[in-house]
Symmetry: C2
Subunit: 426 residues, 2 copies
């Protein structure tokens, strides 16, 4: 019997005593319930109970952040205290099961009535998972090897419009983007295998362009084909991409789920590009759901190679600090064991152009990332090739520590990008 | 080319013009983006664009419900208007793909910066899904056939403590519960296939009891074994349950995901009992995430037979009206086509005992449901058999329209339940 434990860290808000509320969380998610039940011996409790490791009270507020909570009886004007809670669980409770881990740290907890807020901030992963979950197969290093980009940020884009392009129209656009010198091109999350662009036909048309481009230039663009769908379909479509010489598949993580991605990983011979659309529903209220620091660990265990993290000064709601925290989290080793970092390559996107490169590099401390721009490439006044060049120049300057305002003097593509987009942001 | 469309209904909150905000949602999730991009012809837009069908402004508030929103520039004191928005999408955009449907109606929308609230309330399913997604294999009727309960609510319970019981301890408890006369017994969501209770051993021990009980009494208790896990493991464990004479498998839906459940459904010869732990993270804030009315449709498409809906006067945060709306939704046909209702059996649980039966029946209008009690059975003063009897008596009275206060006069188990639990609730 192993006595090892793992921890989960939460932000809670409660009108009850925070220590008692934390104890209730521990009981609900392990051997205890509110009332002792038959069969629940002291020995069983000692072996299987979750424990409250710490409760750090933070601030307090007058009104509950979430509805439905039941404050203590006989309290006229309840105050809602926020606290950081660390629970520990016996590793034995979950074995090496990802779904059991998720249910244990993030199951019924969110609905418990003493809480007017409950968010999973972080967790540790029991060592038993190392063997069963091999993690990302390619990550940063493998993606660099496949694209031949040995240093600096990988520069990419998204095929737009999101929906409606035929396979031939898509291939024509991919030709423009490949000729522009990009490292990476991805399908939009809204297009997978629809009747107007069956994946088999799209792979055929696009890979014809990619292969021809590779033969001509020696550069093999990575195209992430959106294979999201039913399990059989995903495996089949992975095989199609592989057979056509493709080197990446994309999955809408939340739409297919953890077990499907984990299954694909075991079959896959290509990097899995993980799109997190839907994530807002799980994260946007600060006292509900998940921090990405916690959530991304599940997907890295499942084996996702690339993980979207939004971008600095993005067009969505997320603050820059949150974006950087997410990217750092993807690069932080999942296990202490050597060679078991299970790191994923963070993918920056949304409103990105040359200007965010220095801040992104400064905050992250490295350029092991995929940097996706749309308008920053297609909307560049001198065309897509100049757009791609402006991004690469910005990243070279960022890594070298040269201010963009200096670097653009001798780099006309970068200068033109600032003239075009400079008033829009940053 | 099909011109059929499907709709999605949202609750939004925005400081922008609600019509313009709705148009942005439609653009973001279909052919349009904020800026027209190359390749986006008028023909493509006409064929693939989502449309705003209606915008119904509701109330307005001073402060945004969610952080991160960007109000219009040059507005000193923005007001946040709430509105009900119906969008329609071309069915062709998603084909017959469940993951594409989810990404289309519930993808990046939640993070769009004009919105300080966005929740998916409901959606319709394109007819193309009928053929590809056969839906629940058993539902209410199939579950009744397997359990031999031709009318009235099915009465069940959950094995507690949640974690820690060995296979033999579990089997001993199942014997007590089967002898008590229950129709249904389920694993806790926290126990699937852990080292201390490997599923194979648990199935073996429990089914020995169940089979012996069936031989002796003619009644075959349905036991929902929690097979949640990796895909291979779930299929393997389904087969184990089937081979041992079992007649139900349980899955933690959110922990394994839609594609995994859909894959299991195609393999399964048993009802799939769907546990929705984790659902609170997606639903608890009223202006974020999902109404269950919308969310349960995805799982019925994937083929879940039983769906948890909480219970009246439950120990969690959910209001009674929401519980009933969820249960009704599970029973509402998914398609207009005959024989394609895809209905799931709603599962009531959490703090349930005899007292909630009349209100549940009155609100739902039928007894095609699974009614799970824990303390209401094991905590009954005259033992588990009397506990189970009290629940069945309450349901007979509810369906017959006899007040429990009258019925308990000649039904001592029911009377004892009220003496024991009457002060606790309802």
């Amino acid at each position: 019997m192993s006595h090892s434990r793992f921890t989960a860290t939460y932000l809670i808000e409660t009108a009850h005593d925070p220590e008692a509320a934390a104890a209730m969380m521990a009981g609900e998610q392990s051997a205890g319930t509110f009332v002792r039940v038959p069969g629940e011996t002291n020995e069983l409790r000692a072996r299987h109970s979750a424990s409250v490791e710490s409760v750090t009270v933070l601030d307090e507020v007058d009104t509950p952040s979430l509805p439905g909570t039941r404050p203590p009886k006989n309290v006229a004007n309840p105050r809602y205290r926020r606290a950081r809670v660390v629970l520990s669980f016996p590793a034995e409770n979950v074995g090496a099961s990802l779904s059991a881990l998720v249910t244990t740290v993030a199951g019924n907890l969110f609905e418990l009535s003493p809480f007017s807020g409950l968010r999973l901030l972080d967790l540790t992963i029991p060592p038993a998972f190392i063997e069963r979950y091999p993690g990302p197969q390619f990550g940063a290093q493998g993606t660099r090897a496949l694209t031949g980009v040995s240093e600096g940020a990988l520069i990419g884009t998204i095929i737009k419009p999101s929906v409606g392009l035929s396979p031939q129209q898509t291939a024509a656009l991919v030709k423009v983007l490949a000729d522009a010198g990009l490292d990476f091109i991805k399908d939009d999350e809204l297009i997978a295998n629809p009747p107007y662009s069956p994946l088999a036909e799209r792979v055929d048309a696009v890979m014809h362009v990619v292969n021809e481009h590779a033969d001509r230039t020696g550069k093999r663009v990575m195209v992430a084909f959106n294979i999201s769908g039913e399990i059989d379909e995903m495996l089949h479509n992975h095989d199609l991409v592989l057979a056509a010489g493709g080197n990446c598949v994309m999955v809408n993580l939340l739409s297919v789920g953890l077990s499907a991605v984990s299954y694909l990983r075991r079959h896959s011979r290509l990097p899995i590009h993980g799109h997190r659309n839907g994530w807002g529903a799980l994260s946007r209220h600060p006292l509900l759901g998940f921090d990405f620091r916690a959530y991304q660990k599940f997907w890295r265990l499942a084996g996702v190679d690339h993980l979207h993290v939004n971008g600095l000064r993005n067009k969505f709601c997320e603050e820059d600090e949150s974006v950087i925290a997410s990217a750092r989290a993807c690069q932080t080793p999942l296990f202490d064991a050597p060679g078991k970092a299970h790191a994923a390559l963070p993918v920056f996107s949304s409103g990105q152009w040359a200007s965010q490169a220095p801040d992104t590099y400064a905050a992250l401390g490295n350029s092991d990332l995929l940097y996706l721009a749309g308008g920053g490439i297609m909307g560049h006044p001198d065309g897509p090739a100049a757009g791609a060049r402006s991004l690469r120049e910005a990243w070279v300057a960022a890594v070298a520590g040269i201010p963009l305002a200096d670097y653009e003097r001798e780099h006309p593509a970068l200068a033109a990008a600032f003239r075009q987009f400079g008033s829009v942001a940053g």
